[in-house]
Symmetry: C2
Subunit: 237 residues, 2 copies
């Protein structure tokens, strides 16, 4: 039976052997939730960048550009890191490509590329992730983006939620990280939004917009869509 493990921070990723495994990159608030939403809204593909300047330069190639630093939209970009940027009422995004850079999510993705397959996870596409992972039948590592390298609750409980969906087919009790994430998920599950209101990151993302984003990002299975890394870009699988 293949095993599911959870890496709580990109800084710990060197301790995990990724070749031969599937990596599920998660940054619930808000990078991976936004990427799922973008592709669901008809964006053709998403290219992640580490640096603001490289990302901004993609505008000249016809890309929409999206950037977040410390929770805020960076100056000179079309979009920030809110999933609502891709929904009705914002910029037209259908058929466009998007270049993004975010504080934590991009880093987690780039560090995960040694895996056999790299996919993007969020509560919004939880079952699509579970389906793909079941089909692959390989060991899976959930790579939590965290907050500037530190543990965070929202990515951790996503790990617990995915472990629950996969428990019939995967060993989801082989590491203490998985056990802890599963227990925390059980506490969070009855009311995800209320649970996450206590988290340090959510308190940091103050204000109405942030709370609207959070309420959106904790919805389960809104999109049957799996972003996958292919030829240097994220596309719908």
């Amino acid at each position: 039976m293949p095993a599911l493990d959870i890496c709580f921070s990109p800084e710990l990723l060197p301790l995990y052997e990724l070749p031969g495994k599937v990596a599920v990159v998660v940054d619930i608030l808000r990078a991976t939730s936004s990427i799922v939403t973008a592709l669901a809204a008809g964006v053709t593909h998403v290219v992640p960048f580490s640096e603001l300047e490289e990302c901004r330069a993609m505008a000249a190639k016809g890309y929409l550009t999206a950037a977040e630093r410390d929770g805020q939209q960076a100056e000179g970009f079309d979009l920030g890191n809110s999933p609502f940027g891709y929904l009705d009422g914002g910029l037209p995004v259908l058929g466009r490509a998007v270049a993004i850079t975010t504080t934590n999510g991009t880093r987690a993705l780039h560090l995960s590329l040694a895996a056999d397959a790299v996919v993007i996870g969020a509560f919004l596409n939880l079952e699509a992730v579970a389906d793909f992972v079941r089909q692959q039948g390989k060991d899976v590592v959930i790579v939590c983006a965290g907050w500037k390298g530190r543990f965070n609750l929202e990515d951790t409980i996503f790990g617990g939620a995915l472990a629950e969906r996969l428990q019939a087919d995967f060993d989801t009790t082989g590491s203490d990280a998985t056990l802890a994430a599963s227990q925390l998920w059980q506490q969070a599950k009855p009311d995800l939004a209320a649970y996450l209101l206590q988290s340090a990151h959510v308190r940091r993302l103050n204000g109405l917009e942030a709370h609207q984003d959070m309420a959106f990002c904790v919805q389960l299975d809104t999109y049957d869509l799996l972003p996958i890394w292919r030829d240097g870009r994220l596309v719908a699988n």
Copy 2:
């Protein structure tokens, strides 16, 4: 109000600013539990080493030597990593000095030395740690030794237990790591030994001796004794 934070792995310690703070190093199974027990049994001081050879060489200076690698006593040493090595029936330890090297605990300790004060925490001396930290009134970082750099449950729930003891005087909700540890502690608290039987590390430490050690190490407040780092050695405060 000073803050309490928890670092789940020595690999994440570079993200924590230790100067000006108190570091509480914890490796429940079993390094810090054994160090507390050793000093309580009349050992004069404990010197930790990273390498087996340096540690073994201390025998020539009259030290008892203690070494563990991958959960087993290393060959050619007086003691392993069991707290029972310092209790009645083992070697006479009263008035002796001990040189130790362990897989995870020694590393966590050495990486913590930038803190204003470095103390050793275990369930066995939980209230002694809480007392010291309250008296200092500085920010505190609990440094979990983990397992080869990874998150583990036993050190994490110690963090939650200490947070509970300090919640009247410290901000114990400022980081997601502290929130998670506190929630896991609440689940573990009714029966610590039963809770830890599920952990990956405890399952790894198979056999009767390991379970006796575990049952010993989860006792609360057995010793009113605080090992503190002073002049290159751990002594009773």
